[in-house]
């Protein structure tokens, strides 16, 4: 475990050694600093909003988790009844935290790789304010009785057009940055971000139309629902997190990505397979069998992009363990990348009917969702924020201790979360398929496993507070031109 010598090094190793822009030529440094500067206000704004939603979402998640083993907890408040508060949790995390993180990191990486400053950052902020206000009104709506009870789309329909509009205003910046690119080569991270920027509005619009504004008949709604909900993760969060991993790993290690062709294969197989996989949420359900089969095939096909990305990243980082461990960014990103491989392979397994018949309808699925959305996506975003903020602000992270607390509590918390609910959920599924076992016995059996989730939630929340404090601190703290010597010494010791 962490001793004084293997602690997180100065917040950014290469910042300490060579300044924020590494060993680049003078012109390149100026170009990058112009780009960073153009993203400064917007990037900081999105990160702060993201951190706010992360804390709000942690609170809602904790309340929901407590209620599942202690139903009398805050039971008198209709606004915090389980169904509403768990939906407030999901939507704060998805549209609040995750989307703000995508806006910050996705746009910034796109601008940097395109060598194009973000123009008219002011308009971007207006769109960002609109987005966050819309999420706020949406979450309020969920808590106060306007929830839709459609998974991943709980936000009431009076807000969603505003969400769509403000998204369009934000997403277009990614396309503009790409359009004005000065670099000739288009790097793999740019493909992923471009894909995501187009895919999200498409799936969101289709889902809104076919479920709410011109509802399709019967279970076509459910198919649309899961096509959307699975693709939010697969075609929106995942590509941006992969883009960040593809950008940050080689950059910090100072060596190119292992194979260009593997990156191409990984990208196209993801684009092809991921969006067929969603219907596996309806296996055994009231939809035609051939559709379920399509979902199973799509899910199994996902093995290809996952293995390809894993091999490509593994061969890139091979032999650099020390560097990974010393860089706060890479610690988070590599934890995330490993979780991506594991979570996705599990996901493919879970689509096989023999496995699905056990895991479907249980907490195993909940564990899996957090494996993907948290242990993978969120951890990569944490790492990316640790990399981006010092460059936007030209400042160091004030506290390495907070970063360490953040890493360990989230790494351990996520592990407890996923393992606890996977084991408990698997047993739940086995018991549910055995009609001899009365249902109440299963309910009581699950309680200790559900408690382990609350414990995990506390750990994650501690980490989130450390993250938020560090953000507030770096913003308010004095500008430090020179790297902090004390930290460097500590790490060198």
């Amino acid at each position: 475990m962490s001793t004084a010598s293997d602690i997180v090094e100065p917040a950014q190793p290469q910042v300490a050694r060579e300044g924020v822009y590494g060993s680049r030529s003078a012109e390149e440094r100026v170009a990058l600093s112009v780009i960073d500067n153009s993203m400064k206000v917007a990037g900081v704004f999105f990160v702060c909003c993201g951190a706010f939603w992360l804390l709000a979402g942690s609170f809602f998640g904790f309340v929901a988790s407590m209620k599942l083993h202690n139903p009398d907890f805050m039971a008198a408040l209709p606004e915090l009844t389980f169904g509403r508060v768990r939906s407030a949790h999901l939507n704060s995390m998805a549209y609040g935290w995750a989307n703000n993180a995508v806006f910050a990191i996705g746009l910034w990486i796109m601008a940097r790789l395109s060598r194009a400053p973000v123009r008219h950052g002011g308009l971007l902020i207006i769109a960002g304010v609109m987005w966050n206000l819309a999420v706020l009104v949406g979450i309020r709506g969920i808590l106060f009785g306007d929830m839709t009870s459609v998974e991943w789309l709980e936000i009431p329909t009076y807000v969603t057009p505003i969400l769509g509009l403000s998204y369009a205003l934000i997403g277009v910046w990614g396309i503009l940055a790409f359009h004005y690119r000065k670099s000739e080569h288009v790097y793999v991270s740019q493909w992923y971000i471009l894909g995501a920027v187009f895919w999200f509005p498409w799936i969101y619009t289709v889902a809104q139309m076919l479920i709410f504004f011109a509802p399709a008949r019967g279970t076509v709604q459910a198919i649309t629902n899961w096509w959307f909900a699975h693709n939010v993760l697969g075609l929106w969060y995942t590509p941006v997190a992969l883009a960040a991993a593809y950008y940050l790993i080689p950059k910090i290690l100072g060596k190119p990505i292992h194979s260009y062709y593997l990156s191409v294969l990984g990208f196209w197989s993801l684009a092809l397979f991921y969006n067929w996989a969603g219907v596996h949420h309806l296996i055994g359900g009231p939809i035609p069998l051939w559709l379920q089969t399509a979902g199973v095939v799509g899910s199994l096909g996902m093995v290809i992009p996952v293995i390809v990305v894993a091999v490509n990243h593994h061969l890139t980082v091979r032999g650099c363990f020390r560097q990974i461990w010393n860089s706060p960014t890479l610690r988070f990103v590599v934890y995330g990348a490993m979780s991506y491989t594991l979570a996705s392979l599990m996901g493919s397994l879970m689509a096989i009917p023999e496995v699905n018949v056990v895991t479907h309808f249980t907490h195993f699925t909940v564990a899996h969702a957090h494996h993907g959305a948290y242990a993978f996506f969120t951890m990569v975003m944490f790492g990316s924020v640790y990399f981006m903020m010092p460059r936007l602000l030209q400042k160091e992270w004030p506290s390495a201790t907070l970063i360490r607390i953040h890493f360990w509590s989230c790494a351990i918390g996520a592990a407890i979360y996923v393992i606890g609910l996977s084991v408990g959920g698997w047993m739940q599924g086995l018991m549910m398929n055995n009609p001899e076992i009365p249902f109440m016995e299963i309910v009581e059996f699950m309680v200790p496993w559900l408690m382990s989730r609350s414990l995990a939630g506390v750990l994650l929340t501690i980490g989130h507070f450390a993250f938020a404090i560090n953000i507030a601190w770096i913003l308010l703290g004095r500008r430090v031109a020179e790297p902090k010597v004390s930290l460097t010494k500590k790490a060198a010791a």
Partner: protein, 216 residues
Amino acid sequence: MKNLPILFLGIFFTVAFSWSGLILSSQIQYGGLTPTTATLDEDGNPTPGETLFPRMASGQAEQGKLIYIREGCMYCHTQQVRPQGFGADYERGWGPRQTVPRDYILQDRVLLGTMRTGPDLADVGGRPLTRSWHHQHLYNPQITSPGSIMPPFAYLYEVKEIEGAPSPNAVTISPDTEYAPEPGFEVVPTKEAEVLVDYLLSLKVDYELPEAKFTE
């Protein structure tokens, strides 16, 4: 990658492909399903004079469904019965047959659900659970199911002083439990609780369809 047109076309067509493959084609295949009779005549049309299924829900039940949606019951309860041999839905008594697409065609909002923290409710109205059982259970699940982790929905009920005779619809709660109101008080369902129970009682898979017969 230098070939940008391919990148853009690819981004477009991959999603277009799954959208048409999954959503458009289901809409074409069964988006036009209509209610029908349990058996068809020799031309394959609904038998004249017989009842059409699924039935329309009553207005009360539709209002109750809005409460079900608002409170998020869906996050712990599914409404779909899987075929015999795939899970133990039938053996657990959650429905006399698997549910099929036609069962859902009259619903504005389909609430299949993905989580069974509680039992499936597709056929809860077909179980021997009375209106008064549902009220006790919703008021506080511990009354009927000690150890349950279902949340109490006491805020859908009013605790009020008994004026003269007790209200006819008051929830019967045995006075020696800790959930009973103070002596002289009674627990009365609000309109919302009443319609919610109407909705629960309306959830039934008690009819056959040409494509879905009762499991033997």
